[in-house]
C-alpha cells in the first residue's frame, strides 16, 4: 500500500507537486498522532475532574447550577 501524499508548492516557480510521504515522515505522523491522543486524554480527564469537583461543591452548598449562575450574575 503506498504512503499518503502531500502537496508541495514551490514558491519560486509556482509549481505544485504531489509527493508520496517517506517512511520517516509517516513515522513522524504516527508519533504526532500519539502525542495528540495523549493530550486529548489529559484534557478529557481534566474536564471530567472539573465537572465532578463542581458537582461536589454544588451539593455541599446545597444549590443548583442555575442558582450558582444567579449568584455570579
Amino acid at each position: 500500500m503506498p504512503n499518503p501524499t502531500r502537496i508541495e508548492i514551490d514558491c519560486s516557480t509556482g509549481i505544485e507537486s504531489i509527493i508520496e510521504l517517506t517512511d520517516a515522515e509517516v513515522a513522524e505522523m504516527a508519533a504526532q498522532a500519539a502525542i495528540a491522543e495523549e493530550r486529548k486524554a489529559e484534557a478529557d480527564a481534566k474536564a471530567q475532574a472539573d465537572a465532578q469537583a463542581k458537582a461536589a461543591l454544588l451539593e455541599r452548598l446545597g444549590i443548583t447550577a442555575d442558582e450558582a449562575k444567579l449568584l455570579l450574575a
Partner: protein
C-alpha cells in the same frame, strides 16, 4: 487588504492530501501570512506545523473556547488545535484561520501568532488564539501544515502572502 500584501503561492486541493507545504519561500518580504480553510476526513481538529522541516523547539500559549467552556494552555509541541473542521461537523463546512510570522527572514528566534475557528451549525463552534515561538534563528524557507492521521479533504485551501512594511 493593504497593498503591501502580495500572494506568494496558494493551493486548492484537487484531491485529499495529508500535508500542504510551501517550499522555497523567498526572503524578500518582512512578514508572512498563511491563510487557510480546511476540513478533515476524520475526527481530528488539529494540524502539525512544521518549519524548515523541523517539528521541534516549538512552544506556545493558547486560549480556546467552544461555546460551552473556555480554557488556556501552555504547549511544548507543534500541534495546533481548532484548525480544521472535523468530519463530524456540518457537511461541506471548512475552518477559517491564519498564521502570522513576523520577521520570518531575520536571524532571531521566530515568533508567530494564530487565530483560527471551526464551526458546526446549530450545535457548536470552536475558536482559538495562540502566541507561539519556534526557537530557531534560521530564516523560514518552508512551511508545512500536516495531518497526523487522515487527510485534508478536497477543496481545502491555503494561501501564503508576503507582507512588506513599505
Amino acid at each position: 487588504m493593504a497593498n503591501t500584501f502580495e500572494l506568494i503561492a496558494s493551493s486548492t486541493l484537487g484531491s485529499a492530501a495529508t500535508n500542504i507545504e510551501f517550499a522555497s519561500i523567498p526572503a524578500t518580504f518582512t512578514d508572512l501570512k498563511l491563510v487557510y480553510s480546511l476540513r478533515s476526513d476524520n475526527g481530528d481538529d488539529y494540524f502539525a506545523l512544521t518549519l524548515n522541516g523541523s517539528s521541534s523547539s516549538f512552544t506556545s500559549r493558547d486560549i480556546q473556547g467552544n461555546g460551552s467552556s473556555a480554557s488556556s494552555a501552555n504547549r511544548t509541541d507543534n500541534l495546533l488545535v481548532y484548525t480544521q473542521d472535523p468530519s463530524s461537523m456540518t457537511a461541506n463546512t471548512f475552518s477559517s484561520g491564519e498564521l502570522y510570522f513576523p520577521n520570518y527572514a531575520g536571524s532571531t528566534n521566530k515568533s508567530f501568532s494564530q487565530d483560527t475557528a471551526y464551526e458546526n451549525n446549530g450545535t457548536g463552534a470552536g475558536m482559538a488564539l495562540r502566541a507561539g515561538l519556534w526557537s530557531n534563528t534560521a530564516a523560514i524557507t518552508t512551511i508545512r501544515i500536516a495531518k497526523a492521521s487522515g487527510n485534508f479533504v478536497q477543496y481545502s485551501t491555503a494561501y501564503l502572502y508576503g507582507v512588506k512594511n513599505a
